[in-house]
Symmetry: C2
Subunit: 327 residues, 2 copies
């Protein structure tokens, strides 16, 4: 490769990083299965490929980014350990990746986070620091812990190594099924969306990439249209992974550059799609995990005679509380 | 092949029939995915391969046998149509297979069968005949309809073509993952168990085949031990697919000949395994579908340093009523 300034990538993550992450994660992250449904193909008059990250380690794509980030730490950083803030899938992902790499991990969680999530994270060997969300900012607390204990912060999405790791999901999908006309990806903080868009635009240049959010948490869609960073505050959606306040400093420009469009789906569309995927496709998918599928199955995004990739991002729900989704 | 009387197979189904069914079903039945779980491998100190028939068309392995049987009808039989009795997975399997092959299908169901099952069967284009289970015998009613309307009866398990079709599940599994030390298969009427045992014993001669029943419906286990056909009547188990009164005239001798042992699992073990498979493996599996897995995961069947195949037979549950399993 020639080092020409004109060739320089203005972004901190490129296809080469996703490619390197793919190699790095071999034998660490699972190559998740791609499922198809004749009912879906018939209904959409398309060939639809569901990339099932609910089967990923710890039950979501988050393991890819977490593991990719941790594997690139220096030996000293690994020895000192890492800290992150999350009450959701990123927490479990960091905890397991750290355990596999023998890195001490601390996770900052609100004291009222579901016991089942606290236990899962602790089960992977992470130390949990609880905080009162009415009194503390989790970012401040995390920064303080990092400073005092010399820990490296691994943010949930606004990190080049995390973004590159998440992109390996689309990389694997296209490597397995071939080029796509359309790729649908859910969007919270934009790590999965931007990583997958980078991969798709290189591997399948004609592929249109659309990000999907809940209507109730449409900050990224508004940011995309206005080209100015928009926020939401505690949005009322069952898709808890998309409750993030806004895109990040890294992910926003990446989304603007690589993503073709944003779509939003209603709570009813999320519930109906979740029901369909459980009842007919026989897979356990969380509300955030069905966002991309919901855009397609509810007709918000039209596809006709197309090859469509749909990222199913995760499957972490409390099975005992399933009736709140389907009643 | 030489026609030597000594070579003659005393059974109406042989490996050649399973092989022929495999070819026949190509492009009709799905090649279902094989899933693995590191948690399960660690817990059992073995390599465990879950053959996921919950992803099969109509949500269970039953489609294999139904389709294999229907494809072997004469043109006249196809034209006249078929009839079967089932309130469960066999009904939907016959309905869809008949629809795909343009064969008229009638399904005899008790009037109190869940609306969701009636609708699914009707949705695949079958005609449903309801009967009062306190007043009529479904076998008599089916025979009467068959006689009057010149329909061919396709029984749910005691049929050579059905048994051969079900055996293709084990055939596919072993073709994909290689030879096994142990194969666990649930047992209701014994169609899946005997078909899979025939396939396994030829493709992987060292493989021990164990059938698994609910403790509450242990007729096949008792039949196996006493070598005399035993029955149960309306057993109280959540594994509705294993509520069949006994093994069949064809399946009983096949089970005695090809199966190494029978195991039983408690209702609590069924529930716990179902919870594990939903919560951790992220797949929707019905109670009968987890019987084989329950024997392994609860330690009823011991495996150590083995390659273990587990048939996950189906995933048809009413999602809206999930809380009755997990509460």
């Amino acid at each position: 490769m020639t080092a020409n300034f004109a060739d320089k990538n203005p972004f901190p993550v490129s296809f080469a990083d996703v490619e390197a992450a793919t190699k790095r994660l071999q034998g660490k992250a699972f190559k998740t299965p791609v499922l198809t449904s004749q009912t879906v193909n018939k209904q959409t008059h398309s060939q639809v490929f569901f990339k099932c990250e609910n089967f990923q380690r710890t039950g979501s794509f988050k393991f890819r980014g977490a593991c990719n980030a941790l594997m690139q730490l220096s030996e000293t950083e690994k020895l000192n350990g890492v800290v992150t803030f999350s009450s959701g899938n990123h927490a479990q992902a960091i905890a397991l990746a750290a355990q596999l790499l023998s890195i001490p991990a601390t996770v900052v969680m609100p004291a009222d986070a579901p016991k089942v999530k606290q236990e899962a994270t602790r089960g992977y060997g992470a130390e949990i620091v609880l905080y009162d969300r009415t009194r503390n900012s989790r970012e401040d607390l995390t920064a303080q812990i990092a400073r005092e204990q010399h820990l490296t912060i691994i943010p949930p999405y606004d990190d080049a190594r995390v973004i590159a790791g998440q992109g390996t999901a689309a990389m694997e999908l296209i490597a397995e099924v071939g080029e796509l006309d359309l790729l649908l990806v859910c969007c919270g903080g934009g790590g999965l969306l931007s990583g997958c868009a980078i991969a798709a635009k290189t591997l399948s240049p004609q592929c249109k990439v659309i990000g999907v959010e809940p209507e109730q948490a449409d900050d990224a869609a508004r940011s995309f249209r206005t080209k100015t960073l928009q926020t939401v505050s505690n949005p009322d959606t069952i898709a808890d992974g998309a409750r993030t306040p806004s895109l990040g400093k890294l992910t926003f420009p990446l989304v603007l550059h690589y993503v073709d469009d944003m779509a939003t789906v209603s709570e009813a569309q999320i519930r109906n799609t979740m029901f369909f995927m459980w009842e007919r496709m026989k897979i356990v998918v969380e509300p955030t995990g069905v966002l991309a599928a919901a855009a397609l199955l509810s007709g918000v995004v039209k596809a006709e005679n197309s090859r469509v990739g749909v990222i199913v991002s995760g499957g972490n729900v409390d099975i005992r509380e399933v009736d709140r989704f389907f009643s």
